[in-house]
Symmetry: C2
């Protein structure tokens, strides 16, 4: 405790808020004092929504996306293409792909990436359930949509080996190359090399 | 709403968290997902501490600092010099001065600064109660410790006029000059000019 607060309630709130990632005690104090200046309803709504979220949250039994129902809206939708499964690291990535408006298939949320350094093994992720989903039939393509990092590559490799047993299943991964709108001059050499290797036919 | 969430609980938590100053929906989502990964107890403690803070908070009846008791620990302390009152904008400023370890007097928290632009008039601040405190006797010095801004200057001026009626009361304000550790080269010209005007005798 760097600062001595004049109120135990304030002390407690600041301590709890500062447990959040990227929020130090100074910011936590600023937020707490902000809440004191606002309407009581607003602060209570914030506190209650956090409690409700943590106590009430559940995950889709199929794809493990956050969902208030047993099966999430995407998995339950007849408008989605259930033959294509996009494998992502977390719930936020599902939102990112949904925001593109370019994807009509379904998802599979791993809940992390394989990372020996952080002690995350394949058994701690939703990989077995992915294999089971594919084994159950009806899936023709699995898109590995993981980060272009060491952990992403390791996880891609592991999953590709697990899914190699399924004949007729197409395994794809995201294209790697220049960001849209980026200039050559400001693109790092790894990305530039990758975009050259993965070049595609030019179409007018 | 930029993003469509797959859970109403998540939607609600993100909306409430993003009402906090400096926290957008992206950060709010990151914090909400962080809370989902942690122990349930931690999230509930955070939510409850916010509710308790807002519902249970009270202010010192003398200096208006946040306090769990009618009179705050500073005002109630016989070790403090009750003849000197340091006038500050808010509770955070009390903490800043306490952190210096240089001040043994007491405080008076205004709850803001006069700001015609933001519609904050003198009657919305704890200025009348400051005048009453001084009128009650026993106070020999009032230190105007407000920000070196237009609003701070306006508030200083207003308070100095209200307290001008008390003969024998010393009114002081914070020194303005170079920050400790700052180089001349990197000090802005207004501050430099001020530090020249307010120069003090050199003592070895």
């Amino acid at each position: 405790m760097e600062t001595q607060f004049s109120s135990a309630l304030l002390e407690s709130a600041v301590t709890e808020i500062s447990r959040l990632p990227g929020i130090g005690r100074k910011t936590a104090l600023r937020l707490a004092l902000h809440l004191l200046r606002r309407d009581e309803r607003e602060a209570v709504a914030l506190g209650q929504s956090i409690i409700d979220l943590r106590k009430g949250i559940s995950y889709c039994s199929v794809c493990h996306n956050i969902s208030d129902t047993d099966e999430c809206a995407i998995c339950a939708s007849p408008l989605r293409d259930h033959t294509t499964v996009c494998v992502v690291e977390n719930v936020r990535d599902v939102m990112s792909f949904e925001a593109t408006g370019q994807y009509r298939g379904v998802y599979h949320v791993l809940g992390g990436l394989i990372s020996p350094v952080d002690g995350v093994g394949p058994d701690m992720l939703q990989i077995d359930s992915l294999v089971e989903r594919v084994a159950a039939g009806g899936i023709t393509e699995v898109i590995l949509a993981l980060s272009a990092t060491m952990e992403g590559d390791t996880t891609n490799f592991y999953i590709s080996r697990r899914l190699g047993q399924f004949a007729g299943l197409t395994l794809t991964r995201l294209a790697r190359g220049m960001s849209v709108g980026n200039e050559i001059e400001y693109t790092d050499e790894l990305t530039l090399g990758r975009s050259l290797m993965e070049r595609v036919p030019y179409e007018q």
